[in-house]
Symmetry: C2
Subunit: 457 residues, 2 copies
C-alpha cells in the first residue's frame, strides 16, 4: 500500500465525526420527491450538495433544472486515467406511518451503532460515503482517477426525467464506468457486489361502484360493492402456487441457469434469515424457487396500499363508491414494464365484472438489468472490498430496482458497478430507517481503495 | 273529521316555518355517536331535546345517563286511552368524505324542496315530525292518547347500552305499542309500513404480515403480503353466485313463502329504480332472488372500509405490515349475530393461511325482526297514511336494521309500528344527506291523524 493511500485512510478516520455531521445535515432536509409539498426541500437539498461538492474541491458544479426535480453535477478531470461517473439520488421515500418512528425521520439520531432517519441508508449515506472518500483523497493531493458526480432527485418516483437529461448531456456525462452505490450488503461481514437488478412497473387501480356512498342496509345485496370487487380482482392476480396470473407475465422471463442457481444457493439468504428480518410467520412465494431466487431472479406482484370507504374509529354501515389499490410488479430480464401494463390491462378486461367500472393508472416503470461480474472495474471494486473486509465479496442479484443502470447502458453506453453499505435490516422505505455506522465507515475506506485501484494499470 | 282534528292540522300547517327552524337547530349539533371527540355534542343534543319537549308541554322530562350516551325521556299520561312509546335516536353517522358535501353537514341548508344536512332524514327529521305532531295537538287541548318518548343516542353504533336501560326501566317505559318512525317510504307518493327489518353483525378484521413495513424490492416474493392475503380472504367470502360462503350462514334463514314473494313483487323496487338511485352499471346479488327480495328478505355481507399501507399521493414501494377491513352482515330471521361471528371465525380458521396472523373484532350486532301487519295500531297507522296520501300504504321488508324493535319485543313485550318519511334518495349514511320537505310535512299530518286514531275505539 502506498504512503499516499495510507495517509488518505488515516485522514478519513480522523474525520469520522465530521463525515457523520455532514450526513446528519443532509438527512435533516425532507427531500420527499413524490410529495409536491416538498418541492422547495428538493431544491434546498440540491443546493446543499452543490455547496458541499464545491467545498471539497470538486469543479464545474452545476444544478441542472429538469421538468421535475434538478440534477446536481460536478467533476474533477485532471488525472491521466479513466473516468468514473458516480451516480446517486438525493430524494427519499415518504415517511408514513409517522407514529411508528421512534425519532423524527428528519431529525437524525445516533442510537447504539446506528444513525436513524429517512434516507440514512437509501441513499444519502451512500452519497456522503462517496463524497467523503473523494474528500479524503483530495486533502492529500490529486485524485488518481477522473470523477464525475450525477446526483438526481427523482429515483424514488421512477426517475421520470433522468433519461431525457442523460440524452441531452451525453458529452458532459461521458465516462468509462459508472459507480452506483445504491445497492447494499447482505450482512455487515459480507461485502457484496450486485450484478443484477429487478425492474419495476407501478400502478394505481381504482374500482368504481355506485355514484356515491350508499347505506348498506337499504342497498346491501343488490349492487356489487366496489371494495369487494377490488379484492376479488386482486385475489385473482396470484394462483395457489404463488404465481402471477397476468396473461403472458412469464413469457419474457429469462430462465435461471443451473450454474446461477447453485451460485445463488451459496448466499446466506436463507428462509431463516428472511423470517428474522421480516418477523413473518413463514415464508411464501412462487412454487419451485428458493427465497434467494424469488427475491433476485423471479418477478413478483405486490400490493402497496388499499383504501376504500370508512376507515376511521368505530363503525359506519356504508357501501363505498370507490376502492383503490396501489400495486407494482418487480421485473426480471427480459420483461418490459410497458408490456406488464398491457398484461394488467388484459387481465382486467378479462376479469373485471360488468357490475363495476375501473381505471388503471401507470405510475412508473423501469426495466431490470444485468451486468458482467468480470468487468475490470468490478474486479477493482471486489479487490477494494476484500482489502477492507479481508474476505472475498459475494455476487448477488438484487431484488430492488435501480432503473438508471439500464438507462445508462442504453443512453450512455456505460456499464455500472454496483455496491453500497446499507444492510437488509436498515428498514429502507419503512419507519425507523437506519444506517449501521461501523459498516458505513468501512465503506468509505473501501471507496478510497476503489478510486486508488481505478488509477492503477 | 272532528273540528278538533281539523284545527290541529291547520295549526300545524301554520307552523311549517317554525317546525323547519327546530329541525335546523337540531341538525346543527354534530351528534356523531361513534366519535369520542363528539361526546359533549351528544349531551348538548340530549339537552336540546329535553328543553324542546318541556316547551311543547311534555312532562317528567329526564336525561338518563348510560355507560355511553344518554337517553332522553318524557311523557304525557292524562288520557283515558292506550299508551304509545315513541322511539327515536338523536345520534347520526359520521360525515366522511367531507369534501363531497355541497354544503356543511351541520349547517343545514334548504335547496329546492329538500333540507340538506347529516341527520335530516336519519332521523332527526323524524323525531321533529313526531314532536311537531304532538305539539300541534297539545296547542288545541289534551292528547287523545298517552305518549312517552324514549330518544337514545347510540343507534348508529348498535345501541350498546339501550337494552340494559330498558331492562332497568320496564315500568317507566310500559306502553301498549311503540311507534318507530326510523323506517322510510319507497317513494314520495307511496306511504309505506315496514313489517320486517334486517339485523346486523359488524366486524373489523385485521391481517398482520411482517413485523413492520418492508421494501418491496428486497422482500417482494418471499413473504405473503398481508394486503394481498386480506383480499384473498375477502374474495372467498362470496361464491360466483353472489352467495355468502361462511359455513352455516344460510342454515337459520327463514325461507320466503310464495305469498310473500308475490307481495314483494308488487313493490316498485325494480332493478331500474335501484340503478337510478345508486348510479351502478348493473345490479348484482344472490342468484335466484329479485332485488326487492335481496334487500329485504335475504342476508348479505358487505365491505365498508379497506385500509393498508401507502395510500397518499404518488408511489411508495412498501410491503405493508398490516391490512384492515370493516365488514358487516345484514341478517334476516332467524339468524343470530353471535352465530354469524362464530361462522366468520370458522371461515377464517379454515381459510386464513399460516403465512399471516389475523384478529377479528366484534363491533356490534342485532337480530332481525318481523311484526304482524294486522296489529290494530298498524291498521290505525295505515288509515292515517291513507287519509293524507289518499292511497293505501304498501307493506315492505326493510333492508336496514333497527335492532331496538327486536329488543323492545324481548325486554318490554311490546310490538312496534314502523314508518317514517325519509326517501331512498335521501343519501342517508352518505354525503349530502337530505330530507324531502313536502313529504316530511305530509308526515307530520299523518302522525297527527295516527295519534287521533289511537284515541278512537
Amino acid at each position: 500500500m502506498t504512503d499516499y493511500r495510507v495517509k488518505t485512510l488515516e485522514y478519513g478516520h480522523s474525520q469520522a465525526a465530521a463525515f457523520l455531521k455532514n450526513l446528519q445535515d443532509l438527512v435533516s432536509i425532507p427531500s420527499i420527491s413524490t410529495d409536491p409539498d416538498h418541492k422547495d426541500d428538493m431544491l434546498r437539498t440540491a443546493n446543499w450538495l452543490a455547496d458541499h461538492l464545491r467545498q471539497i474541491g470538486m469543479e464545474h458544479i452545476q444544478i441542472y433544472p429538469t421538468a421535475g426535480h434538478p440534477v446536481v453535477y460536478a467533476d474533477w478531470l485532471h488525472a491521466q486515467a479513466e473516468t468514473v461517473l458516480i451516480y446517486g439520488h438525493y430524494d427519499v421515500q415518504p415517511v408514513e406511518p409517522l407514529d411508528e418512528w421512534h425519532s423524527g425521520p428528519f431529525t437524525p439520531e445516533v442510537r447504539g451503532e446506528n444513525l436513524y432517519g429517512r434516507g440514512t441508508s437509501d441513499m444519502k449515506g451512500q452519497i456522503i460515503a462517496a463524497i467523503s472518500a473523494i474528500d479524503s483523497i483530495l486533502k492529500q493531493g490529486p485524485l488518481p482517477v477522473n470523477v464525475k458526480f450525477m446526483l438526481e432527485g427523482e429515483e424514488e418516483i421512477g426517475s421520470p426525467h433522468l433519461a431525457a437529461f442523460m440524452q441531452e448531456h451525453t458529452d458532459l456525462l461521458k465516462a468509462d464506468i459508472a459507480l452506483n452505490p445504491d445497492a447494499g450488503m447482505i450482512a455487515p461481514d459480507l461485502p457484496t457486489i450486485v450484478y443484477g437488478l429487478r425492474g419495476l412497473a407501478y400502478f394505481e387501480l381504482r374500482v368504481y361502484g355506485p355514484a356515491h356512498d350508499l347505506h348498506s342496509g337499504i342497498f346491501g345485496g343488490v349492487i356489487h360493492n366496489p371494495a369487494q370487487a377490488l379484492c376479488e380482482l386482486i385475489a385473482g392476480m396470484h394462483d395457489n402456487q404463488g404465481r402471477v396470473t397476468l396473461p403472458g407475465f412469464y413469457d419474457r422471463v429469462r430462465p435461471l441457469s443451473e450454474q446461477e442457481r447453485s451460485e445463488l444457493a451459496r448466499l446466506p439468504m436463507t428462509d431463516e434469515s428472511y423470517l428474522e428480518q421480516t418477523g413473518s410467520p413463514i415464508t411464501w412465494g412462487e412454487a419451485g424457487y428458493t427465497s434467494a431466487e424469488r427475491t433476485g431472479a423471479r418477478p413478483t406482484l405486490e400490493i402497496h396500499g388499499l383504501l376504500s370507504g370508512f376507515t376511521g374509529k368505530g363503525s359506519k354501515t356504508v357501501i363505498p363508491a370507490v376502492a383503490m389499490v396501489k400495486l407494482s410488479s418487480r421485473l426480471v430480464p427480459d420483461q418490459d414494464p410497458k408490456e406488464v401494463y398491457q398484461q394488467l390491462l388484459a387481465y382486467l378486461h378479462a376479469n373485471a365484472p360488468k357490475s363495476i367500472r375501473w381505471e388503471l393508472i401507470e405510475m412508473q416503470g423501469g426495466k431490470a438489468s444485468m451486468s458482467d461480474p468480470n468487468l475490470p472495474a468490478t474486479q477493482k471494486l471486489a479487490k477494494a472490498l476484500e482489502t477492507v473486509w479481508n474476505k472475498k465479496p459475494v455476487y448477488k442479484r438484487e431484488g430492488g430496482s435501480i432503473p438508471v443502470v439500464g438507462d445508462m447502458q442504453e443512453i450512455l453506453g456505460m456499464d455500472s458497478v454496483l455496491t453500497g453499505f446499507g444492510l437488509p435490516s436498515d428498514n429502507v422505505h419503512a419507519p425507523n430507517e437506519k444506517l449501521h455506522l461501523p459498516t458505513w465507515y468501512s465503506g468509505i475506506d473501501a471507496l478510497i481503495h476503489f478510486f486508488y485501484n481505478m488509477g492503477e494499470k
